[in-house]
Amino acid sequence: MTEMFRDKVDVALTVNGEPVEARVPAGQHLIDFLRQTVGLTGAHASCEHGVCGACTVRVNGEAVRGCLMLAAQADGAEVWTVEGLSDSAAIADLQEAFVARNAAQCGFCTPGMLVAAEELLSQGGLPSRAEIREHLSGNYCRCTGYEAIVDAVEDVARARGGEDVARARGGKGAA
């Protein structure tokens, strides 16, 4: 552990479209690098074990657990976090659906959940509710009970497929 933190490695990567160069401890995880060094606190560390998905960020187009990847391994990578995906409006419709459906309560899981959901949505098509649940089954949410999240993702899949989802969601009160 000691050497892992004392040995330093130079990395150069892009984060949210901006170049970042840094000298990182060899043992530092990507999530800690993003949160502590780059100042992007949107994604969170929770289980630090690869189980909960709170640390999920996009690396080279894929949803990756920031607590399982070392910052050093991100050398040369293209990393997107919820902050960059917000600024670029890349997931604006998904975020709006989360707001309308109240698919976030405490919000701690939400940045990771959004990145994971967008990975599914970007594959196109209309996933079934079971497929949405399956895809999100590595992202833990203790607050919502998941149904609102599944609804929101389903709504976005329909809307992106050209369907009119303005229809009210029954008693679930989409605004």
Partner: protein, 793 residues
Amino acid sequence: MSIAFGNPDRPNSYIGKTVPRPNITKLVQGRGRYVDDIVLPRMVHVAFVRSPVAHGKITGIDIEAAKTVPGVLRVFTGADLAEVCTPWVAVLAHLKGLKSPPQHPMALDRACWVGEPVVAVVATTRAAAEEGAALVEVDYEALPAVTDTMTALDKTTPVIHPDMGDNLAFRRLHEEGNVDAALSTAHKVVTASFRTARHTGVTLEPRSILVDWNPAEGQMTAYHATQAPHMMQTVFAKHLDIPESRVRVICGDVGGSYGIKVHVYPDEVATATIAKIMGRPVKFIADRLESFTTDIHARDHEIEAKIAVDAEGRILAIDVDDWTGIGPYSVYPRTSAIEGNQVVNLCGGPYDFANYRAQTTVVFQNKTPTCQYRAVGHPIAVAITEGLVDMAAAAIGMDPVEIRRRNMYRDDAYPVTSPAKMRFEGLSHHASMDKLMEIMDYDALRADQAEALKQGKRRGIGIASFIELTNPSPFMYGIGGARISAQDGCTVRMDPDGSVVALSGVTEQGQGTEAMLSQVVAEGVGVSPSKVRVITGDTQVTPYGGGTWASRGAGIGGEAALQAARALRSSILEVAAAMLQADQGLLDIRDGQIVDTQTGETRMPLEELGRIVYFRGDTLPKGLPRELVQTRHFITMDYPFAFTNGVQASYVEVDTDTGVVTLLKHWCVEDCGRVINPQLVDEQIRGGIVQGLGGALFEEIHYDEDGQLLNGSMADYLVPMAAEMPDMVIAHVETPTKESELGAKGAGEAGTAGAPAAVMNAINDALRPLGAQVTEMPFTPERILRALGTIHD
């Protein structure tokens, strides 16, 4: 003037509507600010060396190697902190006989559970603090560990705290009527034992605190993920000898609480103590193993219970013997006797019956301390009650819905006092059951169950009625001597441009407190909710209040906000009447405009009134009050608690080959009085149900007999994930409380209260034809197969 809640076309009708949460947009953009996101100049990190043994005498501590780690600044032992921080004793006077020894921020000469903090290492980085902690050597002389609840009081079991005399923390027996007589003459008596597993909250954000002490100002500032900032202010002030006015607790975004973050944790008090010693900001963020070994646990109960019924299914008696093990200390300041006490208060809750006996026995053991976690005691009491009722129904061949209808308090019976001596102001068990039957289409579901059986599928339907304790008065904690506020306050202010700021003592952990407050204030003043900025979680600026626990945010905090908003409305109208030379009674505020009440004609925007009051007060009559800031507090007085009620149903399929239970669907009808925001209430209930489903199917903390916690990671302590959870249908009956104008009761715990019992009954409905029954949670495949006789040994 009271609000015509029944008229949806009334002006400013925001109460009762789904409006989006004002603070959710930042969360979906990753712009929340949780404690670990905050970095202060000169901030240092603390890591704790924790006891690896369940019970041991500390015979030596060697910190020399830790001090050599680059970045390590200080190393503290329990004795060092005890010089600055006074110990606490977690008892409440109204829980007669409750005892607990003094507890310090860190162990002094003895560690009593695996995870108890023993040494604190402070460093410039968390990595260095952890590295230092790993080098601290603590010698322990092993002491016998007490781990089994049921034998904790045996003569042969060692006493954990010899000064206390025995391992009994608390015992309460409640008796009403003549239970023995009823049992001996009843048509049928059913006996069962139940078990609820040890749970923990697993908040996604671990416990987090950052404390700064500025000796030059004598001011402590704690950024704390907590549900009760004012309670923590009082605790830090008292034990660190600082005036309350100089302790500021700031609670920003909190990543989940569920009761976990409403307690005083030794390591958090240690962090504040270290900040006071070092005079600089100190941050402590629990890691996941620390969360499992030191966040409070709950629900570790073993119960023997009986129900007696007559031939018509009338309940004659309920008899409950409840045991729970709480760890080595009662948790400060709410105590660890409340959960068992709630079991006594809540068993049999929905039913009108005469003979009731319940005893809870609360014992010390060498495991993580237990305390209040979402729906405190309710899931246990509901499982006991509803399990017994279903078993009685089966014993006399009656439909489970019918037996409930025959016993539930009539909807026109209120007010009534239950055999547990709980006072109910107004509940709706029958209307709720009727609604449940309608939304689940009970008969069609029974037909589907029969059809499935023809194809060899074992499906079951489970029903669970429940009551839920909300809006607590000082009868919960205050009368026992705890400095925990049952009242709450709100300050509402109009700024010059006509926008409104509301500062409230209740807090937000994601349930939607701020949305609820914005709606209530918007309607009370007469502006749109988007014009209301809500501020919570800062003891230096908000009125004193209890925070968020026991489902009190809307009922208590909401009413305070309504009263403050309406007071501001009349102050505004008083000024408007003078400016317009009109009769105040003929003016109203609608959507940010002063209007003529009768015609709705606009007379003046609030902005203009604000301009005159703040910048041209010289033009107003001398002596005209112009108080555009109003504060009101609210406390319930008529009832100790506002009970709510509801009923849940679960539809499951049990694979009798593998023992796997699949949740097909779940329903909940709930009566929380006035619904302020239907979407937020429904989502609270859904989230609560899923926490209850976790307890029913997955969640269980395991210890070995030496007191070692065996599953301290999210990979090993299973919680519900998206794939296994069902869709849930939620509906409401509304019986507003008459204690407040708003009429709101709590909704945050109902889901968790009833879900485990509904699942248990559904599984047993599926298994009954096979002669099998489960009553020990969680209902794992192994337990199902054992009940079926597939696995023995």
